[in-house]
Amino acid sequence: MSLQNEQAEFAEVLFAEDEHTDSVIPSQNMIIYRNNMMTNLKQTLHNTYPMIAKLVGEDFFRVAIKEYIHLYPSRSGNLHDYGEYFSDFLAEYPPVKNLPYLVEVAKLEWACHQLHFASDHAALDMKSLAAIAPEQYDQIHFVLHPASRIIKFHYPILQIIDLCKGATNAQIDINEGGGVNLLIIRRHLDIMLQPLSPADFTFLCALQHHNSLSEALEEALRVDAEFNLEARLPAWIQDKTIVDVTR
């Protein structure tokens, strides 16, 4: 048998619930490799999605991730890349179809996980702003920190986080509205969650979509005619939310 066929068969045995293969002895020990593989993948998902585990309970989480591992095999040698599609999986997973807020929690956890390893960036030099005249606004783009994401949540995600952390025992009415727009950003190596006003959200979200400054400004003003870029910009540059300007 060729190396290719031998390894394909080995992998098949690991994913099947049956140890039998004629290629190796003792074939009953194949279960060790399967256990190692499953333990590594399960531990990875558990590390990335602790709030999901908390919300659905450990027993249910174990069943769900086993299903996920079968549907979404790992495609990277780096375990930190594993789990990307967990929110998609939860959106389609029949047992939690009536718990759509889990999808948003999973999205938040994946975003935080990614930001943990995302690139660093130096602060933007304020002086580079002085050179920009308003008539150039349609040609320039502000760049958000590479370790940041702007996400709209329809459910009260901050209260859900507090609940998971044990910071509150209050009941949350999931359907009472309470959605929030968040800037999720890594500052001083730690991930911060910052609620945004509708106009700030719209403006930063436009930057995230690589829209020009004039487009972003227009969108923000449509949401709030009082939006004042000159008042907001220095803080965003100082706290490294905006880190670059390109033409």
Partner: protein, 283 residues
């Protein structure tokens, strides 16, 4: 720990980061799993760069999948090269195994059949990797729980041939020799003495656990315990045959205190000096 070790170090894992940076233990060097630092920034790289200022660092990979029939994962290799440029490691290593096929990763160190076909394949791949990284890599023997029926070459000969033909070095894991030999009924001493001293550039030591599979005890390479006396004995034989070799203590789950881990490194250094010095005088 006050003493400063010359040759032995530890595998540094996340739960020990803060204490390691605060106490700066006197280990000679440290080793980390390369893939954990494949991100572009953030805390892991920040910590590793701080550690690197004071210690030589070895990048030990678990997913190059050198023995896989798949095409080499160039994206993975690029990340390793970027990390290597950033950290400037003293050594880069991975395992004589495969962990992916048809693009699917199985995240375990899986054995390859020790055949002529596999030998040529592995040699070719290591040459490609070394050309790409522009440096020699070390290849480590793994713990095995099964053997292929079509294996035709003893593992120790296979490993030596891989090194000879590809120009790579060997990272000899003494615990893995013990575990595989016990599981497969081989002689661990024979493995040690089959190694050419100049090709072995590093030694690994670790603890293992046992599991009962259908009524049979199997040793599992779990890196969750202290090194056992039989493995220390094998280490003594390795040092007396191979000479002084940089050694790393690996501990990956059920981590002990940093101090206990460093004491294992201290013990390895003490053994190495006891064994090697008299051998030199009489030799």
């Amino acid at each position: 720990m006050k003493s400063t070790l010359q040759l032995t170090g530890i595998g540094l894992r996340t739960p020990h980061y803060a204490e390691f940076l605060e106490k700066r233990p006197g280990v000679a060097w440290i080793e980390v799993h390369s893939e954990n630092y494949f991100g572009e920034g953030g805390k892991p790289l920040n910590i590793l760069e701080q550690v690197r200022r004071d210690y030589p660092v070895s990048l030990h990979g678990v997913s190059l999948s050198i023995g896989s029939a798949d095409e080499l994962n160039w994206n993975h290799l690029k990340k390793l090269r970027d990390l290597s440029h950033r950290i400037k490691p003293c050594l880069i290593s991975d395992h004589l195994c495969w962990s992916s096929i048809n693009g699917h990763y199985l995240h375990d160190l899986l054995p390859i059949p020790y055949t002529e076909e596999a030998l040529q394949h592995v040699v070719e791949r290591i040459k490609q990797i070394q050309d790409y990284l522009q440096q020699q890599i070390l290849i480590e023997n793994i713990s095995s729980y099964v053997e292929y029926n079509n294996s035709a070459i003893p593992e120790c000969e296979f490993l030596s041939e891989v090194a000879k033909q590809s120009g790579c070095g060997i990272l000899l894991d003494v615990n893995n020799i013990y575990v595989s030999a016990s599981n497969m009924g081989h002689n661990p001493d024979k493995f040690i003495y089959a190694m050419a001293p100049d090709i072995v550039q590093e030694i690994h030591l670790a603890g293992f656990s046992t599991s009962n599979i259908n009524g049979k005890e199997v040793m599992i390479d779990s890196h969750n315990r202290p090194v056992i006396p039989a493995v220390w004995d094998l280490y003594r034989k390795a040092v007396s045959h191979l000479g002084l070799k940089p050694t790393i203590i690996e501990w990956d789950s059920d981590l002990p205190s940093l101090e206990t881990l460093c004491l294992e490194a201290y013990r390895a250094e003490t053994i190495m000096r006891e064994i090697y010095v008299p051998a030199k005088r009489t030799g």
